[in-house]
């Protein structure tokens, strides 16, 4: 029954490409969060000093 609902071709959801993209993004967002955390850390230190 679920197949009846897939009126968008499942291929058009392009499974493989989304796996790859999500993988790359996982790494990218991981490093982005680290950069953000480091920036936040220094901001807090310098913020206190000033």
């Amino acid at each position: 029954m679920q197949h009846i609902l897939l009126y968008i071709d499942p291929g058009s959801g392009s499974y493989l490409i989304q796996m790859i993209i999500a993988g790359v993004l996982g790494v990218a967002f991981f490093f982005k969060n680290i950069v953000f955390a480091v920036k936040h850390f220094f901001h807090r230190i310098f913020g206190r000093k000033s």
Binding site: L5, I8, G11, S14, L16, Q18, M19, L25
Partner: protein
């Protein structure tokens, strides 16, 4: 009586339901096959959440099978949209807002255990000054192990056209007429400059998807399952990419028009005064402001009417009007890009899926201010044809005539003097009197320009 309904010509793709008219009222049928997903959508609070936050058009539920269909599960009566527009008539910011709305609803749905299952730009409409989702059947039960079924559609309907406009710095909404089901990633990837590959989001969603997406047409059963975190990353990346897109508003054909017009003494004020006077005497509900520019006159009538369709062919002018409508919270102005020398055609299956602009635009009053000379002199359209177009749209017409000795007209005809042979007040009036009767005439101060109030002849 169940057989007297008309299914909407655009509502044929989705087996889970369809929209139809019965006795002039628009309904949506939900089919049995979609019962489980629809019940979840309503019972777990997603519908209420989206409707309350004005992300989705609200509906009333009727437990009556109006079509007599054996597949019927329930009937919905959505709030009626006063006017339907299409992405090829939207400015960049309207499409961008529609894209962000799509992503926001997908994210909200995930929190309720559902997922947005399609991402068509035609499922979004302007309603009360905001972009809202109009398809209540767009949500299915969320399976965390599956990727986003609507991902490619989202890229072709939103990401690709917005990226093209952003990188090429050109308004390209017209591409939707040629590619109504979204712009193919092959075309977009080929047209984009190299620097688009240096942007992570654009590289992944456009260039990489174009390359790999083609190779993998069926779901790979051996692949590892998707996850909720992966889905969140995907949606976050699409959102960041789209938020970074802009179409810089460069000096356009009409920018500064009002500044310039204001230099001509009290021309604009006098015009407003005459129009106000006439409108106060007319009984009307809906207005079409043809060649609205940045909507100064649309704003003038906004308080007096149910809605105003404000069009201009200039993307920059309509962009400014759209931003103004947002900032001032004006809920009844529809700013759209329309070239009256080539209004949006009827397209799609049987040419019935998307109605032409002239078939959708039916109003009581039309303003055609400082417009006719552009159609007649720039586009060489005879007055007869211009009048015929307006007669198919409106009952009353407030039209301005700019004479042949006007500075603007002289400038426009500097290199095409031959068009002036059939351009005069006499030609104008004889053309328009074929379709309209003249109710009043007022000269706009000493500008040499004249306003006419006309009413459509009964014969038309």
């Amino acid at each position: 009586m169940a057989d007297t309904f008309q299914q909407h010509p655009s509502s044929y793709r989705d087996p889970s339901g369809f929209i139809f008219y019965k006795n002039g009222i628009l309904y949506r049928q939900v089919n049995q096959v979609f019962k489980k997903d629809f019940d979840q959508f309503v019972n777990n609070g997603l519908y209420q959440h989206l409707a309350e936050n004005k992300l989705l058009i609200p509906h009333k539920r009727l437990e009556e099978n109006l079509t007599g269909s054996p597949h019927w599960y329930t009937t919905l009566q959505p709030e009626l949209l006063p006017f339907i527009s299409y992405p090829y008539e939207w400015c960049f910011d309207m499409l961008k807002q529609a894209a962000l709305l799509n992503l926001q609803t997908a994210k909200e749905a995930m929190n309720f255990g559902l997922m947005l299952r399609d991402a068509s730009a035609y499922n979004i409409q302007m309603y009360k000054g905001r972009m809202v989702l109009i398809d209540s059947l767009s949500f299915e039960l969320y399976d965390e192990t599956k990727p986003w079924i609507a991902y490619r559609q989202f890229c072709e309907h939103f990401y690709a056209p917005l990226a093209l406009m952003h990188y090429l710095k050109q308004p390209l909404q017209n591409l939707f007429v040629a590619y109504p089901d979204g712009i193919s990633l092959n075309i977009v990837s080929a047209a984009l400059p190299f620097k688009s590959k240096l942007n992570l989001h654009s590289y992944l969603h456009l260039h990489l998807q174009k390359t790999i997406g083609k190779k993998q047409d069926v779901e790979n059963k051996k692949s590892r399952p998707f996850s909720k975190q992966r889905m969140k990353n995907l949606l976050q990346s699409l959102q960041e990419g789209i938020q970074s897109f802009t179409l810089r508003r460069s000096a356009t054909q009409w920018s500064g028009y009002y500044d310039e017009a204001n230099l001509r003494g009290d021309y604009v004020d006098l015009k407003k005064h005459i129009i106000n006077d006439w409108l106060n005497k007319l009984n009307f509900n809906t207005v079409f402001d043809a060649g609205a520019n940045e909507g100064e006159f649309s704003e003038l009538v906004a308080a007096k009417s149910a809605y105003i369709i404000s069009t201009d062919l200039d993307h920059g002018a309509i962009s400014k009007l759209y931003l103004k409508v947002q900032q001032k919270n004006i809920s009844n102005i529809y700013p759209l890009i329309i070239d009256l020398a080539n209004p949006s055609p009827a397209i799609g299956v049987n040419n019935k899926e998307r109605m032409s602009f002239l078939a959708r635009c039916k109003v009581d009053v039309t303003l055609a201010l400082a417009l006719i000379h552009h159609l007649a002199l720039t586009n060489n359209i005879p007055f007869d044809n211009i009048a015929e177009m307006f007669s198919s749209i409106t009952r009353y017409l407030l039209v301005e005539f700019v004479p042949e000795n006007d500075e603007k007209v002289k400038l426009m005809t500097l290199h095409k003097k031959n068009v002036l042979a059939s351009y005069s007040l006499e030609y104008f009036l004889s053309g328009f009197k074929r379709y309209f009767s003249l109710l009043d005439t007022k000269e706009i101060g000493d500008s040499g320009r004249t306003l006419f109030l006309m009413e459509k002849l009964q014969a038309w």
